[in-house]
Amino acid sequence: MTATWHVSASQGLAAMADPTTLVTIDALTKSFRTDGLPALSELTTSIKAGQVTGLVGPDGAGKTTLMRLMAGLMLPSAGRIEVCGFDTVTEAAAVHEVIGYMPQRFGLYEDLSVIENLTLYADLRGVVGQQRAETFDKLLVFTDLERFQPRLAGALSGGMKQKLGLACAMLKSPRLLLLDEPSVGVDPISRRELWKMVYTLIGEGVGVVWSTAYLDEAENCAEVIVLNEARALFQGDPKVMTASVVGRVFQVRGAIGDKRALLVAALKRPEVIDGVMQGATVRLVIGNDQTLPSKADLGAVEGSEVVSATPRFEDAFVAMLGGQPKRRLLLETRPQSTDNQSLPVTAKSLTKCFGSFTAADNISFDIKRGEIFGLLGPNGAGKSTVFKMMCGLLRLTSGSALVDGLDLMKSPSAARARLGYMAQKFSLYGDLSVSQNLDFFAGAYGLSGQKKRDAIKRVVAAFDLASQLQVNAGGLPLGFKQRLALSCAIMHEPPVLFLDEPTSGVDPLTRREFWSFINAMVARGITVMVTTHFMDEAEYCDRVALIYRGKNIAIGTPEELQNMVRTAELPHPTLEDAFIGLVHQHDGALT
């Protein structure tokens, strides 16, 4: 990559006290409604040139509001922001000249081609003539979109869309680049490429603000502003924040037996404030000034070992919020399954062709009872196609899909009655109340009379929904929405539960709560298939199948997949390393 970014030094420099400071924010408050809680409260911070500043926090923490305020698209309720020496209220036009802003869903025109989008934005930003030609050449090389110039923006993958968005934001060589959740909907490979591009830019002196709900990205930033409920929890070097939990993070590994049971047992201890699954191991964080309970108290069996682990940013984040909510299912949602023989889910040579394009090619797998099985893969690799075939949403070209022994093609209605389904985004009826949603889904699954009342009573008790029954589903807080969606999916006690990226864009606390529910249900014998490209979700799986270019390129436990890419240079590959390594191996084998 030979692109160079010319930064004009004359713009607004005179007004700046510290030349490395691009943005100064002073006591900034933004409220949308006078009565409600503010979206941002009393924020004072600064953003420097030549580095990536991470804006980290769960959905609804105020990240986008802060971005829009910095871009001069919104007026602060109180306080002030100065960008490159310009006040965002009085000199918004000057601010627009020096920044590049990429909104969450970038305003690409899906019906225009890549090059038409670029031309349009160049026209809008007044980049013309020789300058335009040079900028286009540079950007197309930089984003690796040269080959795709005539392709419609709507037909690009998530990662390529974000690259095009980045190119459009870079047209005028901005000094400050505001990227609002650029990694949403982007698979791990494209995400690494985006980060590489951003590092190239900061090497040339551009200041980048990268907002994200994925806490692992915070570790890539020189500084972070951690937002939660409108307030900054932490500002500064993410390593400093991570260091706050040094000595408090442990891993239980070795022959740990039932890792889900272990996690549940460990979380019952008051000392343990956070616990997640990490492939074959269980990761625990203990409270400040607490000592780790003994192995027996944790519920770890003989043969397992508890070792100290390197803290991650996420450990510190959850600890800072006071640990994960230890909400458990208040009532069992289903009777214990005793059948251990039959296979709840079977995919036999699934093949799906769309015209001449083979979206899924001869994919087979079995899922055992009480197992969490993950379908992993980059965007557009075919995992959604496989998932949809397993739900009966797509007709197979060949092969067969069985749910609880029933063929989805031969007896679709009966087979569908055996599965519970939870979609990627909240897809219940937002205009109906919680209890009306429950009523409808109970009826849609054929429950009536006493059976229906019992089923509704059971999930309301289990998921603690009683206080929200009359509230419109659309107005629920995210955590409740997830619980309601899960309730609707399992009311008919399906032996199989299908989850489509269930916790994408969900904050770490809600995510932990959700998986604790899933783990509790799995313990009762429910079988789960989940499709995802988030490694956090994949970590909860017992086995994963890696789908790439319509083929199943690897299948096994997360640990087995990690072993496949273990080398001398990479002695402890993460699941993401395994994902990327295996995809590259497959690409290498093809050429």
């Binding site: 949403l393 679709p412 979609a423 897809s427 109906l432 009306q436 009826g443 699954y445 054929g446």
Partner: protein, 369 residues
């Protein structure tokens, strides 16, 4: 078919339509407002219009004819013009839409026992209205000619008695208002049914429905029944207002009206679901509804009779459920239409319903798989 699942879906659809107070209001208020708007504003009746006269003849015959124009109740006043140029300006400025020109030899020619000519200038921009006024003019002139021949032009011994069957007062409103029961319910039912699947596709709830044991045809029925309920409610409400507030009595049987409305609404729902099964978002659904609804309204016989359409268009008009419904509505309100004639209009609508509903079901199945 599983009644529990179906019932759950129907209840859900009705809740979705009625739970939100604004949505509830949107279902009831616009049709009622439109009903009153159309009932009062849109009228084709021509009365109290001025008529222009350009009389170059000073004979007795023309004076007698003028006197007849003056007595006619259809005309509010007679505007006399001195020259063709003056008359032209009057038509250009839309002061009058018809000018009657009487040549200077009118009386002389008549007296000589020959055929005299009268020229009638019509404003072609208002073709419909001008035609009607022309009708009035020619009937007056014809009567005058007969009377003149009989030598009774002065005495007016005879008076032609016109009788209009089924609408004795020839009140335009009586013919117009009942047809609104068809057109207004069609508009709202098309919207409800046409948008509902598209909205669910957009929200992502449609996949949620498809992975439930609900079968595609159950989903179709579940979407159709609420449309039928809402449409029947609106139709009956408008019919009640027609009878109670406008005093237009229901001459025929209420049962025939209800049966006709059910079959009509099923045909409309079929069209709505067909559109719904073709589109993937609400914007496209809106387009589809408009593409169907505009011509269906314009060519329904609502404003101009189907018989006036070109011959090739008439069979196509038969595929428009509103054409048949308007015949039935006028039939049961203005006269007691015999059931055999009603049936002639029922079966085409039933056929439309069967064809569109099966096409929708087929497309639905194909698109979902």
């Amino acid at each position: 078919m599983n009644w529990i699942r179906l019932l759950a879906l129907i209840i859900k659809e009705l809740l979705a339509a009625f739970r939100d107070p604004r949505a509830r209001l949107a279902l009831i208020l616009p049709p009622v407002l439109q009903f009153f708007l159309f009932a009062f504003a849109a009228t084709l009746e021509i009365s109290n219009v001025p008529i222009g006269v350009l009389n170059h003849d000073w004979g007795t015959a023309s004076t007698q004819l003028m006197a007849r124009f003056e007595r006619a109740s259809a005309f509010s006043e007679i505007r006399r013009y001195g020259s063709v140029a003056e008359a032209q300006v009057a038509i250009d400025r839309q002061d009058v839409m018809v000018v009657v020109q009487i040549g200077q030899d009118f009386s002389r020619t008549l007296a000589a026992g020959e055929t005299a000519k009268i020229q009638v200038l019509l404003d072609g921009r208002k073709s419909n209205g001008a035609q009607i006024v022309n009708g009035y003019v020619s009937s007056i002139v014809t009567r005058f000619a007969i009377d003149y021949k009989l030598g009774t032009a002065m005495t007016q011994a005879s008076e032609i008695v016109e009788r209009s069957w089924y609408n004795p007062n020839r009140d335009y409103r009586s013919a117009m208002i009942p047809t609104l029961i068809g057109s207004l319910t069609m508009a709202s039912v098309l919207m409800i049914v046409g948008m509902s699947v598209a909205r669910e596709r957009e929200l992502g709830t449609f996949e949620q429905l498809l992975v439930s044991p609900l079968q595609p045809f159950e989903i179709l029925i579940g979407k159709a029944v609420p449309g039928l309920i809402v449409g029947m409610g609106q139709g009956i409400l408008i019919a009640l207002i027609t009878v109670l507030a406008f005093g237009i009595s229901l001459t025929g049987s209420a049962l025939v009206l209800v049966v006709g409305l059910v079959v009509f609404l099923l045909a409309v729902i079929g069209v709505g679901l067909f559109i719904s099964s073709l589109v993937s978002n609400q914007q496209q659904a809106m387009m589809g509804i408009m593409v169907f609804m505009m011509p269906a309204m314009m060519l329904s016989g609502f404003t101009s009779p189907v018989q006036n359409m070109p011959a090739w268009l008439q069979p196509i008009a038969m595929a428009n459920p509103l054409v048949h419904m308007i015949v039935i509505l006028r039939g049961v309100f203005l006269r007691d239409m015999p059931f055999s004639l009603v049936a002639e209009r029922l079966w085409p609508m039933a056929l439309i319903a069967v064809v569109t509903l099966s096409a929708a079901a087929w497309l639905f199945q194909r698109r979902t798989q």
